[in-house]
């Protein structure tokens, strides 16, 4: 009898401990679940920055200047984080998209012009992404007449038939594939110590091609459409002020991971192409092809795969974001969680952008390089407008309450914005008046289809 009592007591003690353990486990799981429920927009948005144009620029930077541009990544991370964080904060606090806010605070006409700019610039950018798909597939010996239509179809289907949750998961997986650049970099056997030193200690060179490349790096990394996308995703995920902390981490992690990938791309090209004197790389696919004899087939293929992934990724997000922005601003119904019949304008815009974007790439002898210039110029004109709208809105106390920028943050944000504006203006100037300027001719303006 006594044994029985002891046994039951022991058993209930065990049970209680198990319960407590499971309770603690539950709390922990809950915290992770809350975090995961918020995470996504920041990581996705920042990674999409490394799109086809971006990768071409980074490869060229590594090939032409070796490790010497690596220092710029840290200030760029800060600028990226500061500007994205403001959008995240606005989305979380107001629960409204950026174009919604512009419409409500600045009226119909400003909104309309922002929207038209969005449509044109993003169309050019979409073309750039599909030409990235074409380039990557040609490294893998697949004709662009096969790969581009397939890519367009795949991108379209994912978004049309997926809900936001599914689409986001697909996008998160795409983010993981960026790690292929890390593998490429390791296969290239770079001088890690030297690379690290160059990242931390700035070594500015005052010659024209170097500065042009620097401008190019900034211009391709911070694109105006990403702000709209970021804010809209936080709104669509219904992240509230309570989860703002997580949203901030998401944005920070996104900005850093984006720059880490850039780091690996530059290092990969610096360790191989630059070391062997192949400094004149005109596109990401050139870089991939040149890598094959130097660092092995795998490094080259991984590089091309990364480009394909990035282009596909950006090609699905860009039209999506654009359709969102335009519908929101002009008052049409929008959103992936709506059916085609509920939001016809949204789906028509989305489909139209993909079809036209992919279609232009497929036109034989299309002046793709011109379109790529225009996409850069468009981004350049649009960026200051968007940044200024963001800075004006974020400081509105009636909108943001206690969440307006602090003085310190404003100083950083305005400085970063003004530097970005000046640099993009410079990039535009070069793109229009002097497209043969060293760095640019090597990266953005000469595609293999020229």
């Amino acid at each position: 009898m006594n044994t029985w009592v002891t046994l039951t007591n022991a058993f209930s003690a065990w049970k209680a401990r198990g319960k407590e353990f499971s309770h603690r486990g539950h709390a922990w799981r809950r915290r992770i679940a809350v975090f995961l429920a918020v995470v996504g927009p920041g990581i996705i948005t920042s990674n999409v920055d490394n799109d086809a144009g971006g990768i071409s620029t980074y490869s060229a930077a590594g090939a032409q200047f070796g490790y010497t541009l690596l220092w710029s990544l840290i200030p760029m991370t800060i600028a990226l984080y500061v500007s994205e964080e403001m959008c995240a904060r606005m989305g979380v606090v107001t629960g409204k998209g950026l174009s919604d806010l512009i419409r409500e605070e600045f009226g119909f006409r400003s909104t309309f012009f922002v929207m038209i700019a969005a449509l044109l610039v993003d169309l050019f950018n979409t073309v750039a992404e599909f030409s990235g798909v074409a380039e990557a597939s040609e490294v893998m010996h697949v004709s662009k007449y096969v790969s581009v239509p397939l890519a367009a179809l795949a991108v379209w289907l994912i978004v049309i038939y997926g809900t936001y949750r599914i689409v986001e998961k697909v996008f998160m997986v795409a983010c993981v594939f960026y790690l292929s650049y890390m593998l490429s970099a390791f296969l290239a056997k770079p001088d890690w110590l030297y690379a690290a030193r160059q990242t931390v200690i700035p070594s500015v060179h005052f010659n024209a091609p170097y500065l042009v490349m620097l401008i190019g790096l900034v211009g391709t990394t911070i694109a105006p459409w990403q702000f709209f996308y970021l804010q809209a995703s936080f709104v669509e995920k219904r992240v509230g002020p309570r989860q703002y902390k997580h949203a901030k981490w998401d944005v920070m992690f996104g900005s850093i991971s984006c720059m880490v990938i850039v780091f690996f791309i530059i290092v990969c090209c610096a360790a191989t192409l630059n070391v062997h004197g192949l400094t004149n790389i005109s596109s990401a696919s050139d870089a991939a092809k040149a890598l094959i004899p130097l660092a092995g087939k795998w490094a080259g293929w991984l590089f091309a795969f990364g480009l394909l992934n990035a282009s596909l990724f950006a090609a699905s997000i860009l039209p999506l974001s654009t359709a969102h922005v335009i519908c929101e601003g002009l008052g049409f119904e929008a959103g992936l969680d709506r059916k085609f019949k509920e939001a016809p304008a949204f789906y028509a815009l989305y489909t139209g952008l993909i079809v036209v974007g992919a279609g232009i790439v497929l036109i034989p002898k299309a002046p793709l390089w011109k379109i790529l210039i225009y996409s850069q110029v468009g981004n350049g004109i649009w960026l200051p407008v968007v940044l200024i709208f963001i800075l004006l809105l974020i400081n509105r106390r009636d909108l943001m309450g206690e969440h307006t920028n602090t003085v310190g943050f404003n100083v950083v944000a305005w400085t970063a914005s003004i530097i970005m504006i000046i640099l993009t203006a410079a990039l535009m100037y070069l793109a229009i008046f002097n497209p043969s300027a060293a760095g640019l001719s090597g990266t953005l303006l000469c595609s293999p289809f020229m």
Binding site: A27, A37, T94, G95, K96, R103, E104, G107, F108, R109, T111, F112, R238, G240, P241, R242, L330, G331
Partner: protein
């Protein structure tokens, strides 16, 4: 008919024909009239702006307003937030179309001009949410007004009558001042209103929930998606939250409370009436993906020896709401589950028939720890509308209804 954007920016002249200023804003004073443009704000550059009252307006044409009085008779402007500003509060803002049950954005506001004893009164007839308003605002000042009118006549119209417009004002105090009533919102189906709420910003949602009575608020809360539910509840003060949650069915309340931050859920439970709180707490013991976590405790339990007539009287007497009547649960003398009778069988039975004779075959029930998948299978296999959940000693505790099954399956899909 004139459009608000044609009057905004118009030049105003007094009775002597002197230029007074430009129309900067139009105000409705809801305390006086719900749809009359009651004041015009006339901006005069660096001088203090003036206000023209509705009875001081002689005529209104696109781009030009004439007044019945001299400039000196106009009052100085003092901001007043119980006035509804057409430009600031209406144009480009979102409103709820209570007729179409949607959230839409205002492109322009249509005004009817009525001449009454020497002056012109402007009344809002409808808001323009379609292309004509958009085109007008884009082209104003670029193309001539007649040109714009000709163009917009060819465009498809999308207007909402002013009676069906429900303004979204995030500040609850101002909501009261502007006399924004929630009557029409409360008449919408909770599911529709929940959809509308999902499109609004957090402050706007809060303001609407706060303006509805507890019962309606509870119904809407139950229809919102999980994340929004907890966001809304966490922003309410616990007392109000408790009042609303008490109105919800215990299972919906338990689901909601489960998703709250631990501190909030404790506070809310403390504020709730003892009996309701207890019911909810009992449900909270069960894991979410078990039969216990899915069930509602609001069921009708009668002895198996009762007759049909007695049961109907019982239901009538206690005014049991129809959504609890999918099944009547029977117990025997030992309070053990003895079967369930569907309302259809009850309806067709004779008044003196014993409940035990009407029991559906086979005798189905699940334990509280049964997994949700097994529950779904039972519903599918036997085409159930409701399934009784029993305790370890077979006493009925609650029931799972088909609508809960459907929404869970939908959430998992």
């Amino acid at each position: 008919m004139v459009h608000a954007t044609e009057v905004l920016g118009a030049e105003a002249y007094d009775s002597l024909g002197n230029f007074v200023g430009r129309v900067k804003e139009m105000f409705i004073v809801p305390d006086e009239q719900p749809n009359r443009i009651s004041r015009l704000l006339l901006g005069r550059g660096r001088y203090r702006p003036l206000v023209a009252r509705f009875d001081q307006i002689e005529s209104v044409a696109p781009g030009r307003v004439s007044l019945t009085t001299e400039e000196s008779a106009l009052e100085l402007y003092h901001p007043n937030d119980s006035w509804l500003a057409v430009q600031k509060d209406l144009l480009d803002q979102q409103i709820i179309d209570t007729n179409g049950r949607k959230v839409v954005r205002v492109n322009d506001v249509d005004l009817a001009d009525q001449r009454t004893n020497g002056n012109t009164e402007l009344r809002i007839t409808q808001v323009d949410v379609g292309l004509p308003g958009a085109v007008r605002r884009l082209l104003q000042g670029v193309v001539s007004p007649t040109g714009i009118r000709r163009l917009q006549n060819r465009l498809p119209q999308r207007n909402i009558r002013w009676e069906f417009v429900n303004l979204i004002e995030p500040d609850p105090l101002r909501r009261v001042k502007l006399r924004i009533s929630s009557d029409r919102l409360a008449q919408l189906h909770p599911a529709d209103l929940a959809d509308i709420m999902e499109e609004l910003s957090p402050d706007e949602r809060q303001s609407i929930i706060g303006s509805l009575d507890e019962e309606t608020a509870g119904e809407i809360l139950a229809e919102l998606d999980k994340r929004l539910q907890s966001q809304v509840v966490e922003k309410l003060d616990p007392e109000k939250a408790a009042d609303i949650i008490e109105e919800m069915s215990p299972d919906a309340a338990a689901d909601l409370i489960q998703n709250l931050e631990p501190d909030t859920s404790k506070e809310v439970l403390e504020e709730m009436e003892h009996r309701e709180a207890q019911e909810v707490e009992e449900l909270l013991r069960f894991a979410e993906n078990t039969a216990g976590g899915m069930m509602t405790t609001e069921i009708v339990v009668v002895g198996e020896d009762a007759t049909r007539g007695e049961v109907v009287d019982y239901v009538r007497f206690h005014e049991i709401p129809p959504d609890q009547l999918d099944n009547i649960v029977l117990i025997n003398r030992d309070a053990v589950f003895a079967g369930a009778v569907t309302v259809a069988h009850l309806l067709l039975a004779k008044s003196d028939q014993r409940m035990a004779e009407l029991v559906s075959d086979p005798l189905l029930s699940v334990a509280t720890d049964a997994r949700d998948k097994d529950v779904f299978e039972l519903f599918d296999k036997y085409n159930l509308r409701s399934l009784t959940v029993v305790s370890e000693n077979k006493c009925p505790l609650g029931a799972i209804t088909v609508d809960d099954v459907v929404s869970r399956l939908q959430a998992q899909a």
